[in-house]
Symmetry: C3
Amino acid sequence: MSGTAYTAAELAERFGLGLRGDGAARVRGVATLAQAGAEQLAFLANPKYRAQLADSRAGVVVLREDDAAAHAGTALVARDPYAAFARIAALFEPRPRRAPGIHPSADIDPSAQVDPGAHVGAFVSIGARSRIEAGAVVGPGCVIGEDCVVGAGCELVARVTLVTRVRLGRRVTIHPGAVLGAAGFGLAMEHGRWLNVPQLGGVVVGDDCEIGANTTIDRGALDDTVLEEDVRLDNQIQIGHNVRIGAHTAMAGCSAVAGSAKIGRYCLIGGAAGVLGHLEICDKVVVTAMSLVTHSIREPGEYSSGTPLMDNRSWRKSAARFKQLDAIARRLGARGAD
Amino acid sequence: MSGTAYTAAELAERFGLGLRGDGAARVRGVATLAQAGAEQLAFLANPKYRAQLADSRAGVVVLREDDAAAHAGTALVARDPYAAFARIAALFEPRPRRAPGIHPSADIDPSAQVDPGAHVGAFVSIGARSRIEAGAVVGPGCVIGEDCVVGAGCELVARVTLVTRVRLGRRVTIHPGAVLGAAGFGLAMEHGRWLNVPQLGGVVVGDDCEIGANTTIDRGALDDTVLEEDVRLDNQIQIGHNVRIGAHTAMAGCSAVAGSAKIGRYCLIGGAAGVLGHLEICDKVVVTAMSLVTHSIREPGEYSSGTPLMDNRSWRKSAARFKQLDAIARRLGARGAD
Amino acid sequence: MSGTAYTAAELAERFGLGLRGDGAARVRGVATLAQAGAEQLAFLANPKYRAQLADSRAGVVVLREDDAAAHAGTALVARDPYAAFARIAALFEPRPRRAPGIHPSADIDPSAQVDPGAHVGAFVSIGARSRIEAGAVVGPGCVIGEDCVVGAGCELVARVTLVTRVRLGRRVTIHPGAVLGAAGFGLAMEHGRWLNVPQLGGVVVGDDCEIGANTTIDRGALDDTVLEEDVRLDNQIQIGHNVRIGAHTAMAGCSAVAGSAKIGRYCLIGGAAGVLGHLEICDKVVVTAMSLVTHSIREPGEYSSGTPLMDNRSWRKSAARFKQLDAIARRLGARGAD
């Protein structure tokens, strides 16, 4: 409730929003509809929460035109309330200062270059020939191996590892525990033992990408593993060697893409979904949670696999019948059916 | 076989167990039924291992009343042999000493508070305004960001990251590689590019929770992400922003909960199971391994999805028929069936 | 294109390969068929890429006898082109030098032993009674707890944690973020609260194993968790306490094995596949991606579960019918079918 305040009129002006009600209403922070108080701003985007609007004590609410009519209080009207809220909320986000400079404990190879405008935190290692550009933040405990680039304005929050040959564009954010550039899973069987196939490529990450906590992206075997610009990866994701992910694609937590698969632009990959190796998925494909992509997808649209959740007793019956499905269909004379 | 010894009678007395056989039998350690020797104690809880009892060379066995009759050797009789065994085994657990004090290499912000009775290990970073309470252990390589609290008696084993606004209750154990308080996956699409939604909340973890290796728990967008007391999370779990998990719920490895879902008390979530966002699961729900919860659950019980494991050739036939299921059912005139 | 060059004839001789075309052709590096230039060597193993052979500008191609006939350029003929390529590519792999010695920042318990021929990097912790053998590399940020052994020639790339009682054989490679030896998920419910079951065992990893980034392997409860020799684990894998994995088995990313399961030799476990606890899988079993093994497997072969990927609209129809399967089958009089 402390800090800078903005009036509703100022926010409307600044973000190009419609204003209903009291333009002098002051906003000192943001909160949910359920929790917001008199000097806080809330938003209504998901119709599921519409019922909360009437009871909300929020001083100002960001909402759509058609919800504004039903709202007696001060409102900011947006075509996309969630995006408008995101921009307003950023005004109130506490950002720890990361002053330029290198922490005295950092261990930096003499051949590495760190821009004077970059921040390098405690217990950071930077390997031979790597480069940290202006305004980049390399948080505590990060390990940057050989031949890496951390582009201008990147933020490696803490304990991020770039193993080798990882080139990040500008403004890439990487959350703790992520590992980029580890040797991909390349194995050949020879005389009954596994032989490692050298992983000579790197990882290229485009501008404005975000990579979640404990996500892993292997380096390519020969060519690079590539994320185009503005790709958003949640936590605990696994990206195999030589995968390519198109611009603006977002993947939810625990999803995984096997080696050499290509995913298009503006795709949405659900949580814990999987994509087999060497497949291609075109632009604007949605894969629902925990689905497994087993063949290439050439048409935009939504794709799924799996079965619905059931009580275990009923599920056991259906599951037992699943094993008999071919026999059942044959009995019906369905051989030729599609 | 070295170290402290206890007699069977001492153990019976100490843990309130029944005694059969030789109360003077000495116990110097614990082992499985198959491996235990004359001065070791074993247990029988899972009937699957009952056949091992006859051949066991264990000096003392903890078991249920109805198994005791069949056992000629010394036995401690418990209503819950596994719990009794757990308490006895703790007597023999080697616990590395973590002396109070701060390792000289640790990097601690001047505004942070570390209780003199806490242990802070090598290469630890502690950020502004964070507090480490009495008896807490912060193992090597941990990163504690801004505005965090590590409650009395907590143990962060090693390389744990608390990003920001993470408040741990008392006696919380966190295993290596876990990341709490990373920015949740909040995105709005605006003019064809992703816009980050500020993640202003924190993470609150109740007393006696345990969080597994490489598990991730994102901080809330506005309100906090919450684990109530005695929640047990295995390894590699992903908990999205604003999730709430009820007291005494246990989740097995690789499970995942998407943003804003609420899970009740005393639930058991199986390995690699998933829960979609914004759902509610009531108390005492069991979700079996690799099931996907796609709707709220309002009745206690066991729930499942998926299909049974089959040899691949048979599975291919059933899978092909799964695609024809609606046509098959229509042919049967099953339209109205439930 | 710099560095050492080899002639095709030299490579044929060195690796026992057949030679077609110009034995004097020089090779300075390796690349894909699509990318390789005149002084680079490519390979053709997967028939899917056969069409690229005609257009390839690669100076030398490693391929099978039956592909050699169709190729006008210089070729090295191998029974297994992928394995041959792996051996050749290793000649060109840049390997960062890790000189023997201990980084001055490392924090090593007085009772630990580090062989003078081992490399210990920056910000490494090594606990009481642990031993690092000759030629081993312990990269930056690793944490080695108490009573661990890192065998001769092992490489812990960076930020690897061995919690306690982890014994690695020789030439084990572990990628960043992996955690071995954390306490397994052993819980007993007592009076409505969880009680921890002490995890007194360790982890034993055989010679030549490889463990992927952010993979977790819990220590055993009483006996050890065991990987036999030459086991290959990809990234983000979870191995529960007391699991045993047979020699030469490979597991793809995000797969998981619950406690006390036993997996045989020469098995291939697909990505995101799961194995329930206490099961046994015999040798030479293939489990396809995202399948769940719910019973022991006693016959070699390929096993699967799940349903095929469908467009969401069609999938919803099949999924709804899955719930009716038992009723459908009963209507057909299929009660006795298998």
